[in-house]
Symmetry: C4
Subunit: 491 residues, 4 copies
């Protein structure tokens, strides 16, 4: 044992790395190298005092006896020789050099710790036009907000004392293996927020092993994305064109692209929604545009990016057209945008491979039902749907707990759209960081309800009573018959 | 093909109109005239760069390949001759000359995109007196706010994959054809906000093909309105006078006026409500009025415009009086202001032609039920009413989705009062703009729930479970009998 | 007819009183004296222009034809002689001399138009100590706020087309006749806000024909109140003293006082509640008080006025003691502070004359039930109570609609406490003004639901479904048996 | 009687102590010494005027007659001799020397009157790091807030006219006697807020007769706590170490320590929750830490104190391990962190001595159920649990009413964690003050619902209907079978 051996401040100061770390407490010098990783308070705080006097910080949280109790005697190195203390040695540890961020500067990626953070940063750093287009939703934003709040009103029923050392959120989607029950929901024009746009997303998804839905209105073509991320898995979100031939051409391209695992035909946007924030930015800009006045006066709606981009979409699409789609592709065909159990049943009868319950992020029809409500409606009214096809959910997913709730209630996987666009603000690295965050939140939630793989997830882990009254119980409104009769009588 | 033909900046700059539009991207010159209308992002943004270099804006949203892919080779006009670029040519496109609006100035009509906007503008630009009279409602504003929030708590059940290319909101009201299931609810003194007052509304309704309800307290007489809008359709809202002869005279005038399609007898204002914002403005003014002190002191209520204007209305009106009304007119007679299924049944038994469910915009009795709740009460308790007469709804309509919900639940048409007054702030053009907005919102909602005409509207497209508990199920309160018995015992 | 007779501005100016009033519109001079009272817009606005030119104000709201149409030709007096107009005549009408109020000054009484206004004024003009004592309630204020919000969640079911010309809110309470089903709830120390204190209230109640409950902690004795208002009707709110003899003396005084119509024994304050706002003000003051330190340190609770004033009240009071009360008075005996149907039944069995459902304005036990919930509980569980005794309600009454709802649901009358104290801020006149306001609101509500006297009030005019779930349905909590069994098993 | 005896101001001024106190009202001099304690307004206010003129303050609240009525004639001492009044005598009473507190200064302990006050003070005076670690909770804070609001939504059903003079909240916990059904919930690192840390808590609990739960992460060892408070009662909260031997050593120490009454095995923290406030402070600090960049970059989560401290906890703990715990201790063994009736049943079957329903203060899994909901779930689904073991509750307790509600619903005792840490800000005295406050609130609530000891507490005193729908009624979600079938069909 080191006994009363005197050590100079300078000697001690040499042991200041994670591989060789001494600290002084109450004039006693200890080698804490091996203890760094065991320290319940983490190694960071100790390393702040590596090679120096840690007495003050130590006594803030520990009783005097702790070091002696936890360290072997051979870790005691001697006594600080007070006479050797100089100004350099007693300098306070390097303080926080708080970088002052301008309001429109992006903070370091590592300081963003949840999906909301990405949204806040985008609101401050994206252009007004981009922010309006990405963040806006239909009219009074009721569906947009309910998408999230309905998840918040579902309670977990956690189970304890189950071995959750190893946890895996791996998932099978349409026969393929993915690391998470999470995909990127297709969203238009990712290039608005980062020059790499959908390519950045593709590379991130490739690295992280999740699927990417690519929008018909993507800033990059499918070929460009495949070049960017050669082993990535995509599904293609088709908006069927009024000019069918153009859609046929797209389907042919998809068929030739092995990275595309499925076609998702969009059905929740028969007509472009009224996204007022988007319309307002457009309306301002048009004031300074050298157009003929009569035209400007004609477009009294305002004219958001979302609406004008939708002009080619065919509002005449019907179930019959799906057969036409089938004729142009061998890939699995799913519907994107089912909002009722009735259409889920029709999709099942039409032999589709899957349905994505979605209200387009609340962007199209305000007071259309939150997707998680539609998921519950399917359970209540036609659970056989789950036997025949895969069911996905998007709109409102912000947390790992949201993912887990959807999966517990029968979803195969869930999609995130807006959040991924906001993460693209930081390019590929931003999207990867967001995926990591979602995975960590999901795994934490799985462990804390007591499961280790998603096939253990079941409705028994959630309690939905706070929103069950929002779930339709039958095909008809209770008063439907009365009105029909009234209408008939008057005709 | 144009090949390597060099074009000077000045040559290019000549092609800068919608009929002849070239742009430069990456030094390549393209003729985009035919593409203007097809551009998913709209023509406006392209026209900003007509005859100039659009490279920067282009690459923000498009991958390099897009132009080549979308345009025929004959649209390629040549290569920009760098040496010809001058200062004039590289000037940034005309910026937004943001006009700074004073807080009490009306913004350009085209920038108003929903009914709320009109309300906000009126709150800033109308006189205090006008704003207080129009916007105020009874005491604690509970009914006024519930009128709107009850609509918000009704969820749609949208259906997908239905052909909604052509949509029509045409409606039959009392046998007449109208372009919308929307009428202007009668409201007093439109002249307060615009010198054209009800005449502006009449001309707008005539142009847009909807019906106008004219208030007994209109700033203009029925004859003046008919002169202003000779082919318009009106209904007259009668407040029965304590002096019956004056009302009889009015009814005679109505009978002689072919534009008047119906008489609506007001029954939801037996006594003027306490609209405190209105009372407060009045009370301030009276301070400076040279009246005898004893009189001023007697009117301790404050004394709003709404209350003093109601002084002639007969609070003694009963069902018997409706027979008297019938004797003075051959036109259809409806009730305006039914707030319970019980009175809907009485109206049906009295052989009336229609009822307007209304709580006077929450202006008369606070915590009287929202009209949409009364509509549901009729379904629950006496659906036969719908067989025998038309049912209209006002109070709380702010969105096209609100109109659609009411129609789905059996309303023939709905009325908007306050919003129309606020739109009158801009005269006839303002009212037309609001009607256009409502029509656009309604058609968008129809398409997005999957219907193309209003006879397809049915309760099956809505889910009302979040407000169903507010709907009375029977004539009596569950405890009514207990109290009646108690009262009897004590007498 | 006056034809083209020219009148000078000075001639016209002489006709400027309500008894003789001319105005000029578009240079025509009209005698509007008889029309003043008929004017739908009230006489005030016309009188502003008496003897002067009203053209501008007139044309803001009226079409040109109105005067001619409404007035007899003999009211036309001639044409304004333009040449006679002088500076004096064209001066604008006297403007509003807006008096700037300091924040702690009381605005003129006439500008207060509801009970909330009195509260706002008191919050600004009463001393901190008075405001804290009057306004405070127990701990987290949940019951205080629910008292009001439960009334707001009860909806009316108004009926229309009933003759409501004459309305009367007269009421019988314990055999006496009162002009309103409203009494002043007993509240302590009214002198804090006005030197006349309870005497001001007594005189106001005497004038307005309503009953006053006098607190055991009144600033004035019963004898003083009787002197102030010799024909007033009181009930005395007894806090039974730990020293019974003192209470007996009070009861003897009451027996000798013919103005006292009943004794209300307080039972909702077994122990003083924790009113934190009140405690905080006290705690601050005590810092500067020359008391022995040991004593100050002992009173760690803070020490509000409400708590220290309650020190004499006996927490040992039981149903047995009510017999003792009966022995000391021949007057009717009621309980003040019943909060459950169970105790309502016990009161009935004890032969009491009435019960006042009250939670002491939320001042004693937070999350004790709102009184209107207790009223509903009695209906649900023991409606026979209404056959045997009168039931009153206080706590949360702020509007005439609240009064009407309570009466519809079986209350004989309701009390207002805090609001009356706040009105006492203006002395007798303030209390009278508040009573007038409440009567006006009550009569307006009665008319607008379609009744003319309170014996027509019944539960059928209200819908309570939004709060019915808060009403206990049985004596026991559903889980009571399970716990009792568990407890027994462990003992 | 003193009659007209003149007394000089100086003579009067000598009687200015609580033992000998004269005051002047309207020139009459009274000896109020004996009356001091009887004064309904407290003695403090009188002592302010001891030996001086109290006329003004007196007449603010009392009618003139009160003194004469309440005091014996022999207390009248004479008449003030006006001519003797000097400047000294008429000086106003000492005013409040309002001490201005800096925002980060602790106000005097006596001015804190509820548990919220301690939280507010801690938020301002603790270090950012300490505040973040103590106050943070998982992700969106939904469970943290619901913990409190669910208590607020339980209503009392108070009973009146019961003798509540003597009240006692004494409680038996695991056979031991305690003065309150309240213990200190184990919480880590109390030294962060006060150098005495858990020792201060131990001494306070010893003095006040309540039990202290000691965290595995306590700043002081169990031996140190026992030295600090030799007669205190503890339970030890065990986090089972991945290295079982270390836990075994701890259990051996516990066995040898007679002050430890039970072992509580933590089961609600299988994996550390994501406490974002905590993560954010850490993330900021790490910027300035001299660690290798690769390591810093790897820890993208942020890295809160709570998470790093949890690294030794074994996520593999199962019901089997409880047998191992039993082998290492003879003390009662309880579970800390049960969140479902299912696990309560398993705990009962495993023969445990008690369960602490807890969601770790909402710190681990957001939207895990509030503990009071779990308590109700046990009643609904397995009330037999109460027969076999003790049930405790923590998470959300802030008021004496919360304690009483939990006990009424079957809890043996409740724990407070965060609040106790915040009180430790003031050392031992602060914790004692908080315990006094909780006891006072609890006793006040007991009296005001009409009980005097906790064995009278029962569910009949509460109404839980506002939260009953949040309580699961069965083991399975209604849709569980449908999904299971769907899953099976696809495999």
């Amino acid at each position: 044992m080191a006994g009363r051996k005197l050590l100079s401040a300078q000697q001690i100061a040499e042991h200041k790395t994670p591989e060789d770390c001494w600290i002084v407490v109450d004039n006693q010098v200890w080698d804490v190298t091996d203890f760094l990783e065991e320290h319940p308070g983490g190694s960071t705080i100790i390393m702040k005092y590596a090679g120096r006097d840690a007495t003050q910080a130590y006594s803030e949280v520990h009783p005097p006896s702790v070091l002696k109790t936890n360290l072997n005697v051979d870790k005691f190195k001697g006594i600080l020789d007070d006479s050797t203390i100089d100004e350099e040695w007693i300098k306070p540890p390097p303080g926080q050099n708080l970088k002052v961020l301008l309001d429109n500067e992006k903070p370091p990626l590592g300081t963003l710790i949840n999906s909301h953070d990405f949204e806040v940063v985008a609101s401050k750093t994206a252009s007004n036009k981009t922010w309006a287009f990405y963040s806006s939703a239909a009219t009074d934003l009721i569906t947009r907000d309910a998408n999230k709040s309905c998840f918040d009103r579902i309670w977990f029923r956690p189970r304890v004392l189950r071995n959750v050392r190893e946890v895996s959120p791996r998932t099978k989607i349409l026969g393929g293996d993915y690391k998470l029950p999470l995909f990127v929901s297709p969203a238009a024009m990712a290039k608005l927020i980062h020059s790499d746009g959908e390519c950045a997303i593709a590379r991130a998804c490739e690295n992280k092993g999740i699927m990417q839905g690519v929008s018909n209105n993507s800033s990059y073509t499918m070929d460009e994305l495949r070049t960017a991320a050669p082993s990535a898995s995509f599904f293609f979100q088709l908006y069927v064109n009024r000019d069918r031939e153009k859609s046929a051409a797209l389907l042919r391209q998809c068929s030739a692209n092995p990275n595309i695992k499925a076609i998702f035909v969009t059905v929740d946007a028969a007509w472009p929604g009224k996204r007022e924030a988007d319309e307002r930015v457009k309306a301002d800009e048009s004031l300074s545009v050298p157009m003929s006045p009569s035209k400007a006066q004609n477009d009294k709606k305002g004219g958001g990016l979302g609406r004008v981009m939708a002009s080619f979409i065919d509002p005449g699409l019907t179930w019959e057209d799906l057969k036409w789609v089938r004729q142009h592709t061998q890939k699995p065909v799913c519907l994107k945008g089912v909002m009722s159990a009735d259409d889920a049943m029709l999709a099942m009868e039409a032999g589709l491979d899957g349905i994505l319950l979605s209200n387009h992020g609340g962007r199209n029809l305000d007071t259309s039902p939150p997707s998680i409500i539609t998921l519950l409606e399917i359970h209540r009214r036609c659970p056989e749907v789950f036997d025949k096809m895969e069911v996905y959910v998007d709109s409102g997913i912000r947390r790992g707990t949201d993912i887990l709730k959807a999966v517990c209630l029968g979803a195969t996987a869930v999609g995130m759209g807006r959040s991924m666009l906001f993460a693209t603000n930081y390019g590929q690295e931003g999207v990867e960081h967001l995926i990591d965050i979602m995975q960590d939140e999901l795994e934490t939630a799985m462990r804390n309800i007591g499961i280790t793989s998603l096939d253990q997830a079941s409705p028994d882990f959630v309690h939905t009573a706070d929103i069950d009254h929002l779930v339709p119980a039958s095909r008809s409104h209770p008063y439907a018959r009365a009105i029909a009769k009234g209408r008939a009588a008057k005709l």
